[in-house]
Structure formats: C-alpha cells, structure tokens
C-alpha cells in the first residue's frame, strides 16, 4: 500500500543546494572553531539583553 490518492510529498526541487565550497566550510575545523566562539558569544549577548 502507498500514499493515496496522490503523494503529498513536498516539492523541494527549488530549495537551494549548498555548493561544494559551502559543504567544505561547514566541516572546516579552523573556520568552525571561529563560528563556535561567535555563536557562543551571540547566545551570551542575547541572554544578557533579554533574560535579565
């Protein structure tokens, strides 16, 4: 048995695919370390701004 009457799977063909460069950057240790620090600082900024 499959989906009936018509498969309602979302059409994602227009969603942008990451380029090879983007995929490499997402796994690059030095770059990701910088982004890790930056994201942590952003959380701290948000906490200090909105949770006090």
């Amino acid at each position: 048995m499959s989906e009936t009457p018509m498969s309602p799977v979302a059409d994602l063909s227009r969603s942008p695919l990451p380029t090879r460069k983007t995929l490499r950057r997402r796994q690059s240790l030095p770059l990701q370390f910088v982004r890790f620090i930056r994201f942590d600082l952003r959380i701290l900024r948000m906490v200090s701004k909105a949770h006090s």
């Binding site: 018509m6 969603s15 948000m46």
Partner: protein
Amino acid sequence: MAKIVILGAGVSGHTAALHLKRLLGSKHTITVVSPNSKWNWIPSNIWVGVGEMEKKDVVFPLAPVYKRKGIDFRQAKGVAIRPYGDADDPHGAVDIEYTLPEKAGTTERLRYDYLINATGPKLRFEATPGLGPDGHTVSVCTADHAVEAAEKLRQVIAKLKAGTPQTLVVGTGHGTCTCEGAAFEYVFNVDHELRQEGVRDLARVVYLTNEAALGDFGVDGMVFDQQGFQTTSELWTGSLFRERGVEAILGSHVFQIDEDVIHYETLDGEKHTLDFDFGMLIPPFGGQPLKAYDREDADITSNMFAPSGFMKVDADYTAKPYEEWRAEDWPSTYLAPGFDNIFAVGIAFAPPHQISKPRKTPNGTVIAPAPPRTGMPSGVMGKTAALTIADRLKHGATSPARTASMARMGAACVASAGTGLTKGSAAAMTMLPVVPDYVRYPTGRDERETQGELGLHAHWVKLMLHYLFIYKAKALPGWQLIPE
C-alpha cells in the same frame, strides 16, 4: 519560616528549586515533588534514540543532589491543589501520592505558602490509536523510550544490511503536537546513522509533520538576515532536506497507526496512508491530571486549569483570530489568576494560543502546532518565579512580581543533524523574542538576534550545552553562573 512546594523537577521546577535555595538559604523550607527519581536532559534523548549515547549519559538521580543542597525531595506525584486549604486549615495545600517504591500509593497533604506548578507534559499517546511504545511507533520523549527507539533502529539497520529496503518515518503523531524541533533532530540523526552504516541508499526517510511549512518549528518560522537578504527558515530548512534526501510531508494530522501503515489527513482534507517499517512520532502534550478543590471540597479544577489540563496564569485567554494575536496576550509573571502565591511555569502553564497560524482542513480537523515552551524559556520562567518568591519573603508579600514573557525573551535552539566531533553537524538558531511581535519588529523578531547557521560548530554547541546543563542541574560549584 515559609514553606515552598514545587511540583515537578524538570528544567523549570529544578531550576526554581536550586535558585530558591541559593536565594533563601535555610530560613525557609523548599520541597520538590516529582514522580521521577531521576533528572533527564531531554534534548540529548535523540542521541540515545540512535544509539550514540547511553541512558546513563542523559540522566542522574535527583535525591543525592537535593540532599546535598538541603532541599526536601518527595518522590511522588501531585494529585490535587487546595489553594484555599481544607476544613481544618486555611493554608494552601497539595495532595501528593508517592511513587517511591517503598511508599507507593501512600498519600499525604503538604501545606504551602508558595506553590510552583512545574509538572511538565502528559504524553498523550492515546490521542491517536496505535501511537507510541504501547502501539506501533517509538518515542524519544523519555530516556527509556529513547533506549527502545535505538533498539528498533538497530533492527531496521540489520534488515537494510541484509538488502531489504525500509521506510523510516519521523515526525508528529497528531495535528496538535509541539516539539517539532525534536522530530527534526531525530530525522537527521537517523539519516546520519544510516549513512554511517552505509545503508542510506536502501532507506526511504520521511519527515511527517503537522507544520504547514518546513522550518515552522511551532514558532511560525523565522526570518534571518543572511548576507544582506532576508531568508526564511523554510528556505534554509528545505535546503537541508533536499541535500540529505529526506522527504517531507507537511500539514498532516495522523489519526490512526496500524502495525505497518500510518493513516493521516492533510490540510486539503485528503486522507492518505503511508507504509512504514520504523516510526518515531511525537505525541501531543496535555497537562498532568491535577485536580483543584476549595475548602468545602467542591471541584474548582475548571477555574484553575484550561481544558487541555494546563494551568491558567496571567495570560489573555480571550479567543481571537490569528490576525489579532498580540505579544501582550502572553503571560509575564506566571501567577495563577486570583492568587499571589501560585505559579505555573514551563510546559505546565496554559498558553493563550498557538504561535504558528492554526489551520483547519475542509473536514474540520484542526492542524495547529502547539507552542513550544521547553528548554531555555522553561528555565527562565522557573528562575523568574523563584526570584518573585524570594523578593516577597525578603521584602514583603507586596513586592512586585518579576516578569519574563516569551514575547520578550529569546531562545537558542540547536538542532542536531548528526553526531561526531569532526563529522557531526547541527542547525543552530537564535531567536528574539520567542513569540513574534509584529508591532515592534517588521519580521516579528529582532533581525540582529534571530539567526540560523549550519555546520560542525553547531554540533559542538549542542554537545557543550549537554555537559553544561547537566553540570548546572547537578548544582556543582558555580552552577548559578551558567545562564538558563
């Protein structure tokens, strides 16, 4: 000496208990009532559910922590609230029933001066026939559920290795579920696991959700500023689904699950079936079944609780259409109406309405993601209630209540998409505020603070939060320096 009773020891209740002890010392008694003997860092259950962590990595026993901190702990469940006391005593009281094996079933009435209801959700698997561990799907809502999910996933991987194609469905098991973020995390961790095992090509992975659009997450989606352009969480999330080959079925209400078939209705009113071999579907949440009575023992449950079982607080519960929803509808003090000593925090408070636009199918079926109020907001609410109580005990009962509306506070949401210190990835999002405020911000949220990014670093953030929050929950030295 005042008596403070906290029902529930999840993120909000446990946070409230630790802060109250820190602020009040031994001058007042703090009693925590929880049916569970262990604390669970629920965001990491998804890793238990794919076998990348063990149960012991996400839970720890509560009793030793409370003993060390001088907090009275009762392993019991709250049964009833008596805000006006009883015939013997006008002091407020809660009736509890022990779940501690040695005292199981024994009841007791605890008096309180201040009460915090932080009872968390009742997992309503019964809302959909066949849903949940007693039916035909698994769950990652508790650590034990996640252990079972990992076992079932191993069986499916073994079949894939034997060359038998399998369909794995992850998502929401009802049109009114919340916690889509957990389902999102789990589907990508399953995808990652299948790739690691070298069997992804034989597997069909489907994300079946009540969200009308990808990236909704029950918070009406987000708009990010990316390199000078407004990007939606829908576009950003859709990219990940396409890249990983995960199919998405949107706007669905699952209404029945047979052994190997999921029956669901979509927003256009059409009914469909989907064959599956492995299903992890989140159940809808309800409030814990607490009753309320007045001094004469008359049932006042409907005065204090919404029909969903969540406790009414200082929100505007006037029914109004989505277009008229305002940030001011959301509660800020979490005090129950008519009481200046009863709070409901975390999942236990009744939200005024959803955050995402609710929808109905032509058949009248409601498909409306419920608002998430877990994690960071839960902890902030628990701390806010603790601060109000501490102020009132130190400076007098008329001290103003502290405030922390979800329409003012922010949240960080880190959704794992696979584990591994060098191979892992996650989607990291920050949003401010959680509840969009279209009066203050054109896109509903502060664009500087609302951002999303994908990468290995986000996995490190999720891992860091795992260790940090377990450290904090164990109340180890400096715990209070870790923000909620």
